[in-house]
């Protein structure tokens, strides 16, 4: 999907705002496993996944943890950095050949003063992300690993694109534990 078609589903901005946004958005292609944003950097970029997929990841005690997945028509940012300006211990990696639409967040935020519509559009986009995060947290709070896995299968198209090792840490369990759960289900 074209990002502007997606944006229109969230909020219709006026023509000038759209034009201004068009001027700061560009396409970039990442190869499979390519690092999109390095761990330790500041998040100054908003990505829209046009095709393919990516993950947010970090290391905890030497283990690679996947915190988030994004696929076609998803927005992906490292919010804890984008919204604070602080560097983050998380990175972004393409998990497939991936086409991204890339927005420089500093340029975007500058446009907010002149184009109220853009501030609103992205406010609404990130409110949705916030609600998704709340839902995910809820499933961590009182659902078993098996329930969380079934939920993921149910809600995530593109699940077959994701290596199981990424899925395990995304669910907050070990790879061994995920294998066990899958063995019972199948």
């Amino acid at each position: 999907m074209n990002p502007f078609d997606f944006f229109d589903t969230v909020y219709m901005v006026n023509a000038e705002a759209k034009q201004a946004l068009q001027e700061i958005i560009r396409e970039k292609v990442y190869s499979k496993n390519e690092i999109v944003q390095e761990i330790g950097s500041r998040c100054r970029t908003i990505y829209f996944v046009k095709s393919g997929g990516a993950r947010i990841f970090y290391y905890k005690d030497g283990n690679d943890i996947t915190e988030h997945f994004a696929f076609e028509n998803d927005i992906i940012v490292r919010a804890e950095s984008l919204f604070t300006g602080n560097p983050t211990s998380k990175g972004i990696q393409a998990i497939d050949e991936t086409v991204m639409m890339v927005i420089d967040s500093e340029k975007l935020f500058q446009l907010y003063d002149k184009h109220h519509d853009l501030e609103r559009l992205f406010r609404l986009i990130f409110e949705k992300e916030y609600v998704n995060t709340l839902k995910r947290m809820e499933s961590f709070q009182f659902k078993s690993a098996k329930e969380r896995y079934l939920e993921l299968l149910d809600t995530t198209d593109f699940i077959q694109k994701i290596p199981l090792k990424y899925i395990a840490s995304y669910l907050g369990i070990t790879q061994v534990s995920l294998s066990r759960i899958r063995a019972v289900i199948d």
Copy 2:
């Protein structure tokens, strides 16, 4: 703290915006354990806790689960409803004698068109909430119950105000399990 002193720490709005906000904010006092917002309702209110404390809660399999706490100078909303318009299975309850500053969200959202500053102020407020939620989710993903409890002790003033049964479900564990953890620590 006066809510406007808090708002000023987030973003300084112009005088007209402040005036408009002042007109839709009012104080309300809740007694201990009083239900502030019923389960099943729509969230059309933004609360600022002036003193006391409150929790967001819901029932899962007949058990009372605390999803969120808010104390002095915190904002509290049921975001999954406020940002979607959908009713929510969560409620808000005062956990102490609590003074709230209450904002009608529909009136506030109407002010956004005229007062860009107010949209920005609340955007920034909720971005902070989003970042807090991300941090909390991260601690669910790969920390043990004991680590989560110690983290809560460390980061939450007012912890002594909260009954342990609320803390247990907030941490995603049973009351019995929390007792065990506390026994080891003390």
